[in-house]
C-alpha cells in the first residue's frame, strides 16, 4: 500500500466528484449511501495509515514522483496521521447524523462535505507550505458553502462575516508566503526548516515578518484573540452537522501553528528561533480569558459550545507557546478530545433544539423533552467531557496541559486560566443542563420529533470516543508523546524528510 498516505485526500475528492455525476447525483438515497461508504472507507484507510505510521515510521509521498523539495510531498507522520484519523472519524460520525435528514435543505451537501474533509486532511498531510494554502482554501470554500446550507438570515449574515474575514486572512497568507519564498527560495516545509537556520541579518528580519503574518492567518483560523470574533456566531448559526464538522477547523489552524512554529521557526531556527512564542503567549492567555467570559455569557447551547471551542483553542495555543515536547503531546491529545467532544455537543444541541419547540437551544423554560433520558445521558457525557471532569477525556487533556508548563511563571499564568475556564464551563453547563432538562412547563411539544437511529449512532460514536480516550489514555498519550518528539526533532522532521540535505 505505497499510496496509502494519499487515500485520506483522494477518497473524499473522488467521492465528492462522483457524487456530482449521474446516476448518483440524481437521488438522495444513493448520495447518502455513497457518502457513508466514502466516509467509512476514509475511516478505514486512515486507521490503517495510523497503524502503519506507528509501526513503520513516517510515510513520505512524493506527488508526481518529484522528490522534495522540488515537488509537493505528503508527510504522514504521527501528528498528521493522528489528526487525519480524527477528522475521518468525525466525518463518518457526522455523516451518519446528517443522513437522517439534516443533509436536506439545499443541494450538494454530500459532495461539499467530502470536499471539506479533503481540504482538512490535505492541510494535515501536506509537507509543502503553498500546498497548505491551497488546502486551506479548499476547506474554507467548502465551509463557506456548507455554512449557508439550509439557509436562513442568520446563516447568511454569519457567513458574510466569516467569508470576508477569511478572504482578508487569505491575502495575508499569500503576503506571508511571498516573503518566505522571497527569502528562503523554497516551499517545502522541511527544506524551509533547514534553510531558516542559515538565514542571517536583514534577510532573517524579512523572513520574520512573513512568519508572523502566517501566525496571524493561522491565528484567525484558530480563533486566536483578536481574531476570534467570527467563531461564536459562525458556529452557532451553522446547521448541526456543519457545526460539528467545523469543530476540527480551528484545529487546522492550531496544527499549522505547530507545524510552522515548532518545525520551521522552532528551536533550530537560528536567529529566528521561537519568534512566535511571545505573541502566542499573550494572545493564548487572552483567548482563554475571553473564551471563559464568553462561556459565562452564553445564552444558548450552541453559543456555549462555540465559546468552549474558543477556550480550548486558547489552551492549545498556550501549549504551542510553551513549545516543549510534553506540551505538544498534551496539545495533540487535547485536540483529539476537544474535537470529538465539541462535535458531539453540536450534534446533540440540534437534537435538543428540535424537541424543545420554540425555545430551541436557549437556556429558558420550555416544553418537556420527548426523549429526556437519551438526550440527558448524552448531554451529561459531553458536558463532563468538555468541562474536563473525570471519568471522561477532558480531564486527561487538562492534566496533561497543566503538567506541561515548565516554569513558575508559566504555571502562574496558565493554571489559573485553565482551571477557571473549567470552572466556568462547570457552572454554565450545570446551569444549562438543569434548565434544559428539568425546568419544564407543559407537555412534550407537538412538533417534537424523536431522534433517528443514525443520528443517535453518530452522536454515540463521538461521545463514546471520550471514555475510550481515557481507558486507553496510556497508549494514546504514549503515541502523542512520540508524535511530539518527532515534531520537535529537526533531524527527524526536516533532515529525515530530505534525503539529499546536508546537515
Amino acid at each position: 500500500m505505497q499510496h496509502l498516505s494519499i487515500f485520506p485526500i483522494l477518497i473524499p475528492l473522488l467521492f465528492g466528484a462522483i457524487m456530482l455525476l449521474p446516476p448518483i447525483s440524481r437521488d438522495l438515497t444513493s448520495q447518502r449511501i455513497s457518502a457513508v461508504t466514502g466516509t467509512l472507507l476514509l475511516l478505514i484507510s486512515s486507521a490503517v495509515l495510523l497503524f502503519k505510521v506507528d509501526h513503520e515510521g513516517v510515510q513520505l509521498y512524493a506527488l508526481g514522483g518529484w522528490q522534495a523539495p522540488f515537488g509537493i510531498a505528503l508527510v504522514a507522520d504521527r501528528m498528521s496521521t493522528l489528526l487525519v484519523s480524527v477528522s475521518s472519524f468525525l466525518a463518518f460520525a457526522v455523516m451518519l447524523f446528517a443522513i437522517a435528514g439534516r443533509d436536506k435543505g439545499g443541494a450538494y451537501f454530500h459532495p461539499l462535505f467530502m470536499f471539506q474533509i479533503m481540504g482538512i486532511n490535505g492541510a494535515f498531510l501536506t509537507g509543502d507550505i503553498f500546498n497548505l494554502f491551497v488546502f486551506f482554501e479548499v476547506l474554507l470554500i467548502a465551509s463557506y458553502a456548507l455554512l449557508v446550507h439550509s439557509g436562513g438570515k442568520q446563516k447568511t449574515q454569519a457567513a458574510l462575516h466569516y467569508v470576508i474575514l477569511n478572504l482578508v486572512g487569505s491575502s495575508l497568507f499569500l503576503f506571508g508566503l511571498g516573503i518566505l519564498y522571497g527569502t528562503l527560495g523554497t516551499l517545502n516545509m522541511a527544506d524551509m526548516a533547514i534553510k531558516v537556520g542559515q538565514l542571517e541579518g536583514e534577510t532573517a528580519t524579512l523572513a520574520k515578518t512573513g512568519a508572523l503574518l502566517l501566525l496571524v492567518v493561522f491565528g484567525l483560523k484558530a480563533a486566536m484573540l483578536p481574531m476570534h470574533f467570527w467563531l461564536p456566531k459562525t458556529y452557532s448559526s451553522a446547521s448541526a452537522p456543519v457545526a460539528a464538522l467545523f469543530a476540527i477547523m480551528t484545529k487546522v489552524g492550531i496544527y499549522s501553528i505547530f507545524r510552522v512554529f515548532t518545525l520551521i521557526f522552532g528551536d533550530e531556527a537560528g536567529e529566528l528561533a521561537n519568534i512566535a512564542t511571545p505573541w502566542l503567549w499573550a494572545l493564548a492567555l487572552l483567548t482563554i480569558t475571553i473564551g471563559t467570559v464568553g462561556v459565562f455569557a452564553s445564552p444558548s447551547l450552541k453559543v456555549l459550545s462555540a465559546n468552549l471551542v474558543m477556550v480550548s483553542s486558547g489552551s492549545l495555543l498556550a501549549c504551542a507557546a510553551i513549545g516543549s515536547e510534553v506540551a505538544t503531546s498534551a496539545a495533540l491529545y487535547y485536540m483529539v478530545h476537544s474535537t470529538l467532544a465539541s462535535a458531539g455537543l453540536f450534534l446533540l444541541a440540534d437534537l435538543l433544539a428540535r424537541q424543545r419547540g420554540k425555545a430551541e437551544d436557549r437556556f429558558v423554560r420550555s416544553r418537556a423533552f420527548l426523549q429526556p433520558r437519551l438526550l440527558g445521558f448524552g448531554f451529561a457525557i459531553s458536558a463532563l467531557s468538555l468541562i474536563g471532569m473525570p471519568p471522561l477525556s477532558g480531564f486527561v487533556g487538562k492534566v496533561m496541559m497543566l503538567q506541561a508548563t515548565q516554569t513558575t511563571v508559566q504555571t502562574m499564568w496558565v493554571w489559573p486560566l485553565i482551571l477557571i475556564g473549567s470552572l466556568a464551563a462547570l457552572i454554565t453547563l450545570s446551569r444549562a443542563g438543569t434548565t434544559l432538562f428539568w425546568r419544564h412547563s407543559g407537555s412534550v411539544a407537538p412538533e417534537a420529533e424523536p431522534a433517528k437511529a443514525t443520528e443517535i449512532a453518530g452522536i454515540a460514536l463521538l461521545l463514546l470516543a471520550s471514555p475510550v480516550l481515557v481507558l486507553f489514555g496510556g497508549e494514546i498519550s504514549a503515541f502523542t508523546l512520540q508524535a511530539a518528539a518527532n515534531v520537535h526533532d529537526i533531524l527527524f522532521s526536516a533532515y529525515g524528510l530530505l534525503p539529499g540535505a546536508i546537515q
Binding site: 461539499l112 522571497g182 527560495g185 520574520k208 461564536p232 503538567q403
Partner: protein, 932 residues
C-alpha cells in the same frame, strides 16, 4: 488479579443492576442492588484482620503514565474505616430508601446514582495515587449532583445541586492543582511515596501553595467556613441521600483528605493556623445556626457542619491524640447523624412535614421512632453512655492540650465548650420540639410509625451508638487504632477508650455544656428574638445572584467587544498584522539591498501612473459603484500588462480572462445591489482607516522593495532544467502547474468547483430585490437582445472556441493552458447569454454544468491515478513523442488529460454560477412599469 484492583469496581458494576432490575418489584430491586455492595463489604472486612495487625495492602496497574495516573488502590486502617462506613451505611440507606421513595420516583435511577456515588467514594478512600484520588473525588461531586438534583423538577433541588456542584467543583480544581504541585514536588504521584516524603514537602518552597490548594479542596467538600453554605441547600435531596452523603460519606471526603495527607502536610504552623481556625469557626457557626433552623433537615445539616468543624479543628491541633480523636469522631458522627437523618426522613415521610413549628408531640404517634431519635440526639449532644460523648470528651481533652494559638490558646477550650452548649441546645430542640411540646399543627398527614423495615437501618445505627458508647474498645478499638495509625503514618499513641476517666476538666466541660445547653434551650425564645433582628439572607439567592450578575456582566462585556461589526473585526486583525510586521521591520537597517535594479522607462511610468490613478479613483468613487467597477477594470488591465512586461505571459493571460469574468459577475451583482451609497463613514473613521491602510500599504511596499532588491537562491533552476526532459513541455510555468505542482492545481480546480456549488446553493434560495428601473427611476430599455449584438455574438462563438482550443493545445509549450482556455470558452458562452438571454440558450444547448464540474475534477484525478498502474505516485506524468506518416512528430502527455480536467471544471464552474444567476433573474423579473 489482585482483589484490590477490582474491588472498588464492584459497585460500578452494580450501577447497572438497579437500572436493569427496576422492572421487578421495588424490593427485588433493592435486594439485587444491595448484593454487590454487600459482597464488596464482605471482601473489605476479610482484610480487616490483617489490617488490624498493622498490614497495608496495595495494588497497582499502569494506566496513563504521562500524567502520573495509575490504577492504584490501597487498603490500610483509614481506608478500611471509610470503606466500612461507605459500604455499611450504604447498605442501610439502600434498605431505607426502598421505603422512603414513593412509587412515582424512579427507584432504579435513584439506586444507580447512589451506587455510582458509592463507587466514587470507595475510590477516593482506597486510592493509592494522587491523580486517581482526584479522579474519584470529582466523581463524588458529579454523582452527588445527580443525587441532590434527583427531584430536578423542584427549583430548590436544581439550585441546591448546582450550588453544591459549583462549590465542590471549584474546590476540586484547586485540589487538582495542589495535587499536581505536590506530585511534582515529590517526583511521584504514588500516595505512599508522598506520605513518606513529609519532610521534603514541608521544606519545599511550594509547600504553602500545596497546603492552601489541597485545603481548599477539603474545606469546600466538607462544608467548612466560608464554604459551608452549600450543605444546607443540598437538603433538597431525598433524605436517604442526606443520610448517606451529608452525614457519613461525601462531606467526610474533605475530612478524609486532611487525614490522608496528615503525615505529608500537617505539623506546621501554617497547617495549624488554617485548619484549626477554620475548624473552630465552622464548629461554632454551624452549631449556632443549627439552633435557629425550623426545618428538621436544616438543623441536622448545620449540626453536620458544626461536627465537621469539630473534626477539622481536631486535625488542626497537631497532636497525635487529637488525630485519634478526630478519627473516632468520624465514626461516631457517621452513626448518629445517619440515624438522625433517617429518623427525620421517617418523620417527614409519615407526617408530611419537616417544619418543627408544625411538628409537635409526635411521641404519641410514633413512640418507637421517637425513642430511636432521642438516643441518637443524645449521642449528638454528647450525653454519657453514647458514642458521641466519648469522642467529645476526647475533643475537650485535646482542646486543653494544644498550643496552636500561643498565649491565646485558652480560647479554644472555652469556645469548644460554648459549641458544646449549642450542640446540646439544638439536640434538645430536635427532641423536645418534635416529639413533645403540645400537639401537631396542620400536618398534611396523621403521623404514624413507619413500615417495619424502614426502621431497621435506624435501629442498627442507634444500636451502634449505644454499643460503641458503652464498650468502645471492644467494638471499634482495632478499627480506630489502625485508622489512626494509618492517618499518622506511624503507630498511634496510647490512649484509653474508657467511659470514665475520673473527674477532670473535660468532664466539667461536658457538664457545663449539658447544663448550659438545657438552659439555653429553655430560654430559647429570647435567643430567637435576638437572632430575628438579623436579616436572614438565603445563601441560595445570594449565590444565584452572584452567578447571574457574573453572567450578565460577561454578556455586557461580550456585547461590547463582539458588537457584530465586521469593520471592527477586520480592523483588529489588520492592526495585529501591522504590529507584528512593523515591529520586526523596524530592525531592518536599509530598505534597499545589493541586487541591481532594473532601469526605469517611460512605459512603466505611464503604466504605474495609470495604475495608481485608477486605484485611487476606485477608492474615491467607491460609492458610485459602476464607475468604481470601470476604474477597477483599468487596474486589472494594467496588472495584466505588468505581468506581461515582467516575463509572465501566462499570468497576463490568466489575469485578463479572470478579470472579464469577474467584471461580468460584478455587473450582475450591481443589478441587485444599490447603485450608490451615501457617505456614511464618519470623518474620524475615514482618517482611522486611511491611516491603517497607508501604514499597511507602506509596510507591504517596503517589504516588497526589500525583497526585490536582495539576491535569492531558489529551487527554481530545477524546474527550468527538468521541464522539457522530465515534464515534456517548454513552458515551465505550465509544466509546474500540471506536473511539478499538479497537486496544487488539482486543489485549485476543486476550489473553483466548490465555489460554484456553493454559489448554486446561495442562488437557489435567493429572494431578489430587482429594480424595475435604474437608480434615477428611468425604466429599462425594451430592447432585450439588440440585433447587432446577437448576430455578431453568434459569429464570434466558433472563433472564440477555436482560439480556446489553440490556447489549450499550446499551453504545455507556450503560454496558455487549460485554465485560460476554459475561461475563454466560458466568456464566449457568457457572451451568448448576454446577447441572447437564458431562454434562448436553454432551448438550444443541453449542457449540464454540474456534470462538467464533476467530470472535470474526476478526469483530473483519474489522470493522476493512472500512474498507479505503472507503480508511480499519484500525478506522475507520462509523455512520449510519436511519429505518424504525413503528420510527423507529435507529443502525447498525460498532463494534457489533466489539463482537460482543468478546462472542463473551469467551464462548468463559471457557467454554473452565471447561468443559474441569470436564470433566476429571468424567472423573477418584475413586470416593467414605464414611469418616466
Amino acid at each position: 488479579m489482585n482483589t484490590l484492583i477490582w474491588l472498588p469496581f464492584l459497585p460500578l458494576l452494580g450501577v447497572f443492576v438497579p437500572l436493569l432490575s427496576a422492572r421487578f418489584s421495588r424490593t427485588a430491586c433493592a435486594f439485587l442492588t444491595a448484593t454487590l455492595p454487600a459482597f464488596a463489604l464482605y471482601l473489605v472486612l476479610s482484610y480487616a484482620g490483617e489490617i488490624f495487625q498493622g498490614e497495608r495492602f496495595q495494588a497497582a496497574l499502569p494506566w496513563i503514565p504521562s500524567i502520573g495516573l495509575e490504577l492504584a488502590f490501597r487498603l490500610d486502617g483509614l481506608a478500611l474505616l471509610f470503606a466500612i462506613l461507605i459500604l455499611g451505611i450504604g447498605l442501610l440507606v439502600i434498605l431505607y430508601a426502598r421505603y422512603y421513595l414513593s412509587a412515582q420516583d424512579s427507584i432504579g435511577k435513584f439506586y444507580a446514582y447512589l451506587i455510582l456515588f458509592m463507587f466514587a467514594m470507595l475510590g477516593v478512600v482506597m486510592s493509592d495515587n494522587l491523580i486517581q484520588l482526584w479522579f474519584f473525588w470529582e466523581l463524588t461531586s458529579i454523582s452527588s449532583f445527580l443525587l441532590i438534583s434527583f427531584w430536578g423538577h423542584k427549583t430548590d433541588a436544581r439550585k441546591g445541586a448546582r450550588m453544591a456542584l459549583t462549590v465542590t467543583g471549584a474546590g476540586g480544581l484547586a485540589l487538582l492543582a495542589g495535587l499536581l504541585i505536590l506530585g511534582n514536588t515529590v517526583g511521584s504521584f504514588s500516595l505512599q511515596t508522598v506520605l513518606d516524603s513529609g519532610d521534603l514537602i514541608k521544606a519545599s518552597a511550594s509547600y504553602p501553595v500545596i497546603v492552601v490548594l489541597i485545603l481548599l479542596g477539603a474545606f469546600t467538600k466538607s462544608a467548612q467556613f466560608p464554604f459551608h453554605f452549600w450543605l444546607p441547600n443540598a437538603m433538597a435531596a431525598p433524605t436517604p441521600v442526606s443520610a448517606y452523603l451529608h452525614s457519613a460519606t461525601m462531606v467526610k471526603a474533605g475530612i478524609f483528605l486532611m487525614a490522608r495527607f496528615y503525615p505529608a502536610l500537617a505539623n506546621t504552623d501554617l497547617w495549624f493556623l488554617i485548619v484549626s481556625l477554620t475548624g473552630l469557626a465552622t464548629f461554632l457557626m454551624g452549631a449556632y445556626i443549627a439552633l435557629f433552623q425550623h426545618d428538621l433537615k436544616g438543623l441536622l445539616a448545620n449540626s453536620t457542619i458544626s461536627h465537621l468543624g469539630l473534626i477539622t479543628l481536631l486535625l488542626g491541633m497537631g497532636t497525635d491524640l487529637a488525630a485519634v480523636a478526630a478519627v473516632f469522631h468520624i465514626i461516631n458522627h457517621a452513626t448518629f447523624k445517619a440515624s438522625l437523618f433517617m429518623a427525620a426522613g421517617i418523620i417527614d415521610h409519615e407526617s408530611g412535614s419537616r417544619d418543627m413549628r408544625q411538628l409537635n408531640g409526635l411521641w404519641k404517634y410514633m413512640p418507637y421512632t421517637a425513642t430511636l431519635a432521642m438516643v441518637a440526639s443524645a449521642s449528638m449532644a454528647g450525653v454519657p453512655l453514647m458514642n458521641g460523648f466519648l469522642s467529645k470528651e476526647m475533643f475537650f481533652t485535646e482542646t486543653l492540650h494544644q498550643a496552636s494559638l500561643g498565649s491565646l490558646s485558652w480560647f479554644i477550650p472555652v469556645l469548644a465548650t460554648l459549641g458544646g452548649v449549642f450542640a446540646v441546645a439544638y439536640s434538645m430542640r430536635f427532641i423536645h420540639d418534635v416529639f413533645f411540646n403540645g400537639e401537631p399543627i396542620n400536618l398534611p398527614k396523621t403521623p404514624h410509625e413507619p413500615p417495619r423495615y424502614m426502621r431497621v437501618p435506624v435501629e442498627i445505627l442507634v444500636a451502634l451508638c449505644l454499643v460503641v458508647g458503652i464498650v468502645p474498645s471492644l467494638v471499634v478499638g482495632d478499627l480506630l487504632y489502625s485508622a489512626a495509625s494509618a492517618t499518622l503514618n506511624t503507630p498511634a499513641p496510647t490512649y484509653s477508650l474508657a467511659i470514665w476517666h475520673g473527674f477532670n476538666f473535660p468532664l466539667l466541660m461536658s457538664f457545663i455544656a449539658l447544663i448550659g445547653g438545657l438552659l439555653m434551650y429553655h430560654f430559647r425564645s429570647h435567643l430567637f428574638k435576638f437572632q430575628s433582628q438579623f436579616p436572614a439572607n438565603d445563601p441560595k439567592l445570594v449565590f444565584e445572584g452572584v452567578i447571574q450578575s457574573l453572567s450578565s456582566k460577561a454578556q455586557r462585556f461580550i456585547a461590547l467587544t463582539e458588537n457584530g461589526s465586521l469593520q471592527r473585526y477586520i480592523f483588529l486583525t489588520l492592526v495585529l498584522a501591522l504590529i507584528m510586521t512593523a515591529s520586526s521591520l523596524m530592525k531592518l537597517n536599509a530598505t534597499a539591498g545589493q541586487r541591481p535594479e532594473l532601469p526605469v522607462d517611460a512605459l512603466t511610468i505611464t503604466a504605474a501612473v495609470l495604475l495608481c490613478i485608477s486605484a485611487l479613483a476606485t477608492v474615491i468613487w467607491h460609492r458610485k459603484r459602476l464607475i468604481a467597477l470601470l476604474t477597477l477594470s483599468v487596474v486589472g488591465l494594467i496588472v495584466s500588462l505588468a505581468f506581461a512586461q515582467f516575463s509572465a505571459p501566462d499570468l497576463a493571460l490568466t489575469q485578463l480572462s479572470v478579470e472579464v469574468v469577474t467584471v461580468i459577475l460584478l455587473i450582475l451583482a450591481l443589478f441587485f445591489l444599490p447603485q450608490k451609497t451615501l457617505k456614511e463613514s464618519s470623518p474620524r473613521r475615514v482618517v482611522r482607516d486611511l491611516s491603517l491602510a497607508s501604514l499597511i500599504g507602506g509596510v507591504v511596499g517596503t517589504i516588497c522593495y526589500a525583497l526585490m532588491t536582495r539576491p535569492l537562491d531558489t529551487i527554481s533552476t530545477f524546474f527550468t532544467e527538468n521541464s522539457k526532459t522530465g515534464g515534456g513541455g517548454t513552458n515551465v510555468v505550465n509544466v509546474i502547474l500540471v506536473d511539478f505542482r499538479g497537486f496544487d492545481t488539482l486543489g485549485e480546480i476543486t476550489v473553483l468547483g466548490i465555489a460554484a456549488l456553493g454559489i448554486y446553493k446561495l442562488i437557489a434560495r435567493m429572494r431578489l430585490f430587482m429594480p424595475s428601473s435604474n437608480e434615477n427611476g428611468l425604466a429599462w430599455s425594451e430592447d432585450k437582445n439588440p440585433l447587432m449584438l446577437s448576430i455578431i455574438s453568434q459569429s464570434l462563438l466558433p472563433l472564440a472556441l477555436l482560439v480556446s482550443a489553440y490556447i489549450f493545445l499550446r499551453g504545455h509549450n507556450m503560454p496558455g493552458g487549460g485554465f485560460i482556455a476554459g475561461l475563454i470558452t466560458s466568456v464566449a458562452i457568457i457572451q451568448q447569454y448576454v446577447a441572447h438571454g437564458v431562454e434562448w440558450i436553454k432551448t438550444r444547448v443541453k449542457l449540464d454544468y454540474q456534470i462538467m464540474i464533476g467530470s472535470g475534477i474526476s478526469i483530473a484525478t483519474l489522470s493522476g491515478l493512472g500512474s498507479w498502474a505503472f507503480g508511480h505516485t499519484f500525478l506522475s506524468s507520462w509523455f512520449d513523442y510519436f511519429y505518424l506518416p504525413f503528420i510527423g512528430k507529435f507529443e502525447l502527455a498525460s498532463a494534457m488529460v489533466f489539463d482537460l480536467g482543468v478546462y472542463l471544471t473551469v467551464i462548468g464552474a463559471t457557467m454554473l454560477i452565471l447561468a443559474n444567476l441569470g436564470q433566476l433573474t429571468t424567472s423573477e423579473r418584475p413586470v416593467q412599469k414605464d414611469n418616466d
